[in-house]
Structure formats: structure tokens, C-alpha cells
Amino acid sequence: MTENNIDWKKYLIVFLFTVGLFMSASYISNYFGDKKVNQLKQIQDKISIDILSSETQFSLLSELSCKNISDSVFSGELGELAGKLEWGQQNLGMTDEVSYLKKYYSLLEIKDYLLTKQISTRCKTKSAFILYFYTTLENCSECEKQGLALTALRDKYPELRVYSFDYSIDLSAVKSMLQIYKIEDTKLPALVIDDDVLTGFHGTDELETIVKKSFKLQEANSTSADSAQTKGATSASSR
């Protein structure tokens, strides 16, 4: 017959060792998580500098000419940042840092929006803007679909600028936008195109027609503006 001498010490040592393994895994995970957050910060800093630089450039040159305005303000980096932030939120969790980065990102979007819009009005560059409001607080499958539709649309029209905002974000600038466009949380997703508010899901085809219309209008405007400018130049030279 066996004697059942249970080696309690072994059970304890194995437990401690397992805890150690989990803690190491968590430490390594945090290390990489921090690295990722830093990477996000770097991208944001770069975008921030880009915007500031464009703003400055714009102020310097706007009075004189539109030719030198670089149209790379809305750098691909803003899109890259959006993708990485979303991934970070899902995989790193909505930590304080990620939440801070998200606010900062929203702010950069607004700045980019205002600046590009200004440039577009003054220099008559072809562009269309979509402000997109979604929510992460509740499960919004319409929002996911809308996001996908917008991504597809943006891939098709590089001139199209889509700025997405989390409805639930605690940032006064975003809140002001919600007030301006009277966006309600019950009617998400919501889109703002040319100051019109559309709520609920809208497919690519529908949006495409609106965007095309907007482009056409701009083309028509810019031709008339060009002729006006030419006229102005002639009259200036004749003076």
C-alpha cells in the first residue's frame, strides 16, 4: 500500500513559479505596450509639427500665392495613426495613455480640418470633407459598417478627407462640434458633409454621389474663380 505523503512544499513552489512566469509575461507585455504608446506619441508629435508648419507656411504665403502651399498637410500619417490607435485601444485597453493619445488625435484632426478647409477655400483646391461621429460606448454595428464604407471611399478618392470622432470622448473641442452640428447619441453613426448632417448608415454608392457632386461644384467654382482671378490680374497689370 502506498503512503500518500503529499509534498505541500512542491505544490507551493510550483504555484510561486507559475506566478513568476505570469508576472514575467506581464512585464514583457507592458514593456512592449509602452514601446507602442511611445511610437504613437512620436507619430503624433510629427503630425503636430507638420500641422504647425503648414499653418505657418499658410500664414506666410497666403497673402501672396497659393502655388507654394504643400497639400501634404493631411499626411498619410494621420490615417496610420488612426489605425494604430484603434488597434491600441482594442489590444492595450483604454488606458489613460491611450485615452490621452486619442484626445490629442481628435484635436489634431480638428486642426487639420480647419486648416485644410481654409486652404481649400482660399486656393480653390479640390477637396471634400466628411466629419464622421461614432461611438465606442455601446456595441454599434452600424458604426463599424460606416467606418468600413468610409475607408473604402477614401481609398478611392485621395482628395476626400474623413475625420472620425468618438462621440463619447471627453474633449471640449469635440463637444463643441457635436453642439454645432446638433449630433445626438441616439442617431449614430452620423456624418457631416458640406454642413449637412446625415444619420444612420450610408453606403459607399450614396456617399460617392454626394462627394462627386461636391467635387463638381468645386470644379465649376474654380473655373469661374480662375477667370475672375485672370481678370483681376489683367486689371492689376493695367493699373
Binding site: 505523503n5 464604407a149 448608415f201
Partner: protein, 414 residues
């Protein structure tokens, strides 16, 4: 905040790692005791042993099985072989009658009643102090019996000794996967032997002292897993079971997923129901590591695999759902959306590292088992097949066994 499912997942993962570490620590403690004997083993005395071969429709394999017993490196007058035909409907009886001329072979024929009834018929006629069974789909290595008997000689308190079971004739991926799994169980069984906590006395050539059956009674139906029930009964009564890692028995494994599914369904169903029958011995100090480690970790694996499967199925449905909604939103979009080669998108969650660790330790256990059983190191693709087949199909027989247990349905033998 972590969801309930995440918390359960963490706990199950923690316990799974705990089990793996426990096995590896046991290995490190006892590694010097694991020997592989190459030459012939000599015993001071050769006790008489009876080996029962229960057969039910096994005309194709039984000849080799009996032949291997006749070829055992053990004095012929010290071995008795009982061939018991359990009401076969094929040519099994004819096949075993070929051996009727051997003086140490005794042939029985009875109506079909299940494996345990065949074994019990054999038990009624036993006149030796040691006995064992050899399934008619297995072949014993010539040195196996003498090596097993050396354990009894060394330690009179040992009541049963199980061999290392090695999968042979592995011709396809399904069988390759099982070969790796058998190697894994050689390792685990040996470790459980050190812990005094073996929970199966497998059909292929586990040798018992006759005292076990004299004291504890004959085999029982035990949900078609009589070899597990006898081990539970022995553990309950503090009868020591050991594993002899260098005694090899070669067994044929199911060649198709369907056959494997049936076999495993029977095993898992048997495990669940025997555990339910013996539930009173779980987490009881007096039953030792068997009660505190073996049974709990087996229950854990049932839960973990079931949970993981449901979780993965949920993710899959979720993924498909999002793909459908993507399709509804934008139609077919073959353009790459995110640059997944970007190192940023590599998962660095802690569970990811823990999962790697778990897979690594399982791979290590299989490798150690291979070394113990075959005496050689080395990587084999069987490992990949094992993770693949048992990871994907395993949950199905497990869930089906749970379903059957709840509805008290008994799975067919084959």
C-alpha cells in the same frame, strides 16, 4: 474592465501553466531515476504470469498479438496465455484456434458481453500470482514483460505496472498526431507514477498482482473504460501503480478522424463518468496526489478545452459577422487595409507570451516522452499534427461526451 470570460480564461490558463510546471518540476526531481535498459534484464525469480487477450472481431490483428506473447523473453513455463473470444462475428475464433496446440495457451469462447466480461472470465480461471491483459490490437515487445516484472521484484508494495504504449504503423497525419500524443502520455504517465497518481491501467499489458482482484473484486463495466475504473479503485484503496517506461507495447491507432473520434469519445466519456462515480475522492488529502493533482488536472483540461473551443467559436462567428457586414458596406474589397507587416501590430499581450510558454512546455513534454519511449531526441512533424488535430477535433469529442453524460447516453465501442 476585464469581462467574466477574460477572468475565466486567465484562471484556466494559469492552472494549465501550473500543471505543466508541476510535471516539469517532477521530471527535474526524478530525472536520474528514469533509466532505459538496453540489454536483457535478469530476474532473481520468474513468477508465473497469466496474460488475458480479450478479442472481439479482431481477426486481422490477433495473430500478431498472440505471436508477440509467445515470443516474450520470459520462461515459457512461467507464462499462461488466455485467449478469450467475446462472441466475435468474424473469423477471430478461427484465428485464435490456430494457437490451441501450444501447451501454455488456453482458449475460451463466450457470448458477447463486453470487454470486462471477457476479462472477468479470464480472472475466474487465474492460478498465477500475476496477471495482465493485452488488447488484441497491440503487440508486446519481447523485453516488455521481464522489464515490468523487475519493478515488482524491486518493490513488493507495487501492485500494478503499466508499460509505455507506442503508436505503430503511423501512416497518415491522424496517426502521426496520435504518435506524438502517445509519447506525451509516456512522459505524463511516468511523472504520475513518481507522484503515485496514475489514473489508468491501460489494456495493453498492464500487469497486476492477483491480490488486487482478490481484494477489490473483478472488473466492472465502468462506462466501457474498465482500465480506468480499476485504476481509480486501486487509488481509492491506496494500491500503488507504477509505470515502466522501457517496457514497450506497440498499438495500432485509429487511422481516420471518425475512428479516432469514436475512440476518444469513449475515453473521455469514461473519464467523466468514472470521475462522477468516484467524485468523493477528489480533493481529499488521504488519497494523495491522485486526488489533488491527477483528477483535478484532467477535469481542468476538460473545462479548458471546452471553454477555449466555445471562445474560439465565438470569435470565429464574430469574425464572420464582421466580414459579412464589411461585405454589405463595401462589397468585395481585396485591397490590403492595414499593413500587418508593421511590427506595431504584433500581439504583445501577456497571454500571448503565456500561450507560447504553454505550447513550448507541451512540445518539451512530447520530446521528453519520445526520448523515454524511443531513446532518442529529435523534432518530428508529429508534434505539429498533434496540436493541429487534437486542437481542432478534440473539442468535438469532448463536447459530445459532455452532452452524452448529461443525457446519459453511452457511446458505442467502435
Amino acid at each position: 474592465m476585464a469581462s467574466v470570460s477574460d477572468i475565466i480564461f486567465y484562471i484556466l490558463t494559469f492552472l494549465s501553466v501550473y500543471v505543466q510546471v508541476f510535471f516539469l518540476v517532477t521530471f527535474l526531481e526524478n530525472r536520474k531515476k528514469i533509466v532505459i535498459r538496453n540489454g536483457a534484464v535478469k530476474l532473481a525469480e520468474y513468477p508465473k504470469v497469466t496474460i488475458i487477450v480479450p478479442c472481439w472481431n479482431e481477426e486481422k490483428t490477433v495473430y500478431k498479438t498472440v505471436h508477440s506473447l509467445l515470443g516474450l523473453n520470459y520462461p515459457k513455463d512461467r507464462i499462461k496465455i488466455f485467449l478469450i473470444d467475446d462472441g466475435s462475428t468474424d473469423g477471430t475464433l478461427k484465428a485464435i484456434l490456430k494457437f490451441s496446440e501450444y501447451p501454455n495457451v488456453k482458449i475460451f469462447h463466450k457470448e458477447n458481453g463486453g470487454k470486462y466480461t471477457a476479462l472477468n472470465l479470464g480472472l475466474e480461471h487465474i492460478q498465477t500470482d500475476f496477471l495482465g491483459c493485452l488488447d488484441a490490437d497491440s503487440v508486446a515487445d519481447p523485453e516488455s514483460l521481464v522489464r515490468i516484472m523487475s519493478y515488482f521484484e524491486k518493490d513488493p508494495s507495487i501492485m500494478a505496472v503499466a508499460p509505455s504504449i507506442i503508436a505503430i504503423n503511423s501512416k497518415n497525419v491522424v496517426q502521426g498526431a496520435q504518435r506524438a500524443e502517445y509519447n506525451l502520455s509516456v512522459f505524463m504517465k511516468k511523472m504520475l507514477g513518481f507522484l503515485g497518481a496514475i489514473h489508468v491501467a491501460p489494456g495493453p499489458l498492464t500487469i497486476f498482482r492477483k491480490k488486487v482482484f482478490d481484494d477489490l473484486g473483478p472488473y466492472r463495466h465502468a462506462h466501457n473504460t474498465e482500465d480506468m475504473e480499476i485504476a481509480y479503485r486501486m487509488q481509492k484503496n491506496h494500491y500503488k501503480i507504477e509505470q515502466c517506461n522501457d517496457a514497450y507495447v506497440y498499438t495500432n491507432t485509429p487511422s481516420t478522424i471518425k475512428k479516432l473520434y469514436r475512440q476518444r469519445l469513449r475515453w473521455i466519456y469514461g473519464f467523466m463518468n468514472n470521475t462522477i462515480d468516484y467524485r468523493k475522492i477528489i480533493f481529499r488529502k488521504k488519497y494523495g496526489n491522485f486526488s489533488l493533482f491527477t483528477v483535478p488536472y484532467n477535469i481542468l483540461s476538460v473545462f479548458a478545452v471546452g471553454f477555449l473551443f466555445v471562445k474560439m467559436a465565438y470569435s470565429l462567428v464574430d469574425f464572420l459577422f464582421s466580414k459579412i457586414s464589411e461585405f454589405q458596406a463595401v462589397g468585395f474589397n481585396l485591397a490590403p487595409q492595414v499593413n500587418h507587416l508593421d511590427l506595431f501590430f504584433i500581439n504583445t499581450q501577456s497571454l500571448f507570451f503565456v500561450a507560447i510558454l504553454l505550447y513550448f512546455s507541451i512540445a518539451l513534454s512530447i520530446t521528453l516522452g519520445k526520448r523515454m519511449a524511443e531513446g532518442k531526441w529529435g523534432f518530428s512533424f508529429d508534434l505539429i499534427y498533434f496540436l493541429f488535430i487534437f486542437g481542432i477535433v478534440g473539442p468535438f469529442w469532448l463536447l459530445k461526451a459532455v452532452y452524452n453524460t448529461i443525457l446519459s447516453r453511452k457511446p458505442a465501442w467502435r
